[in-house]
């Protein structure tokens, strides 16, 4: 390649220069660095996997909320273990998340003010989850709610649905 330019410089005969211009040292360095790079990426990947638990002992995301008759019409019931409100209105049932969409505090139903209020940063919501005021960026999500074969309410917290989808009774 560029050997001709250096012809004035007396150089030690170098066998590797004859071919593609890569010396044995460069070749071994690149191979070693490449192998170390691949091993490094692999360790990052397996470390990431190691730190992501496969089994979690957390509350179930799908739960039975009991017989519909437990909930009177025009009521908002807080289920503390599930952190969900079961709301029954004349048009039907819906399950509203009790976790504030701002920073994850648990909201409280204030029956006298007819609002869901967050104690942390003052967000307020209507019973259907729409925001009235405060820093919360989104309304409280509605979870999928259905009836089991034996007539109990079933809520799936992994499935968010549109607020218009009400379980008719």
């Amino acid at each position: 390649m560029s050997d001709t330019n250096n012809s004035a410089v007396p150089s030690v005969p170098h066998s590797a220069l004859a071919g593609n211009g890569i010396t044995r040292r460069d070749f071994l360095n690149e191979i070693t660095l490449g192998a170390l790079g691949i091993a490094g990426l692999g360790s990052v990947a397996v470390t990431y996997q190691y730190f992501s638990p496969n089994v979690l002992f957390e509350p179930a995301t799908t739960f039975r909320a009991g017989n519909p008759d437990l909930y009177p019409v025009h009521s908002v019931t807080f289920l503390p273990d599930q952190q969900v409100y079961i709301v029954r209105m004349p048009e039907g049932f819906y399950a509203v998340s009790a976790v504030c969409t701002h920073l994850g505090c648990i909201t409280q139903w204030k029956a006298d003010a007819d609002t869901i209020a967050c104690p942390c940063h003052g967000s307020k919501f209507k019973a259907d989850g729409t925001k009235i005021e405060g820093p919360a960026p989104r309304p409280l999500p509605h979870f999928a709610i259905s009836l089991t074969a034996d007539g109990e309410l079933l809520v799936d917290k992994l499935q968010s649905i549109k607020p218009a989808q009400v379980l008719k009774t």
Partner: protein, 250 residues
């Protein structure tokens, strides 16, 4: 009495054991004084001579030294607290209460750890402001300024991870809120939150992860960076001191 003590000390210095540890001999000349500093692991990064000006209170208010002293207090009290603390739910809360009401002098150690932590955040911030307003970040101190900023962040992370360990309501909600701030990061936010908590909620895994970060990883990082920070103060030419102008104004 004093003379006999002095002669006993002199005899001790003549022993083979003493001479094997302190090889430079009595520090009675500038050369042997320098050798005594160079030959000691704990002193070797200190300057053998300092300007009197840089020892004045107003030169630094000793804020860096105060931060380091508080770090040592936290290190010692933290290790002592670990003897009674299980990083598991709900045992962690009971252990914290035991330290307050059952363990002899436990409340003293716990409060010392807490207060020193609060003071350290305060001292490190004050140190940062003092260095900033003195222009201590200017060449040749840029690198050490960056190390200092990282140390400030490590201090805050230590404070935050320690906050969860009592496992009370304050801790739980502070970490719920804090880790939800993480998940506001675009694209990777909720993944990072999952990794930090070891789950989707602040539970046992989160407590254990914060504990390991608080007692092993972050203190190691802090010690390493403090070492670099102190060493660089010396290598960058000592403390930044104001030089008087020719008309005597500072």
């Amino acid at each position: 009495m004093a003379t006999s003590f002095r002669s006993a000390l002199q005899n001790l210095r003549e022993t083979k054991v003493w001479k094997s540890i302190f090889r430079s001999g009595p520090a009675n000349t500038n050369r042997t004084r320098s050798l005594a500093v160079f030959g000691n692991l704990f002193l070797h990064w200190l300057p053998v001579k300092v300007r009197e000006k840089s020892l004045r209170v107003r030169a630094s208010y000793y804020l860096g030294s105060i931060s380091f002293l508080l770090f040592i207090v936290l290190f010692v009290t933290g290790i002592l607290l670990m003897f009674y603390y299980h990083p598991a739910a709900p045992q962690a809360y009971r252990d914290m209460k035991d330290l307050q009401f059952v363990v002899s002098n436990g409340v003293f150690l716990r409060n010392l750890h807490r207060l020193a932590a609060h003071l350290m955040v305060f001292a490190v911030f004050w140190h940062m402001f003092h260095v900033f307003y003195r222009g201590g970040y200017k060449p040749p101190h840029e690198f050490n300024w960056v190390v200092g900023v990282v140390l400030l962040l490590v201090t805050l992370f230590l404070s935050y991870t320690g906050y969860l360990l009592p496992w009370d309501q304050l801790a739980f909600w502070a970490v719920t809120v804090g880790t939800n701030i993480i998940s506001a990061m675009p694209v990777v936010g909720s993944k990072i939150r999952f990794l930090v908590l070891g789950g989707n909620i602040v539970g046992e895994n989160a407590l254990l992860r914060f504990y390991v970060l608080h007692v092993v990883i972050l203190p190691l990082v802090a010690f390493l960076l403090i070492g670099i920070h102190f060493w660089r103060v010396q290598k960058d030419g000592g403390l930044t001191v104001k030089h008087r102008d020719e008309d005597g104004k500072e």
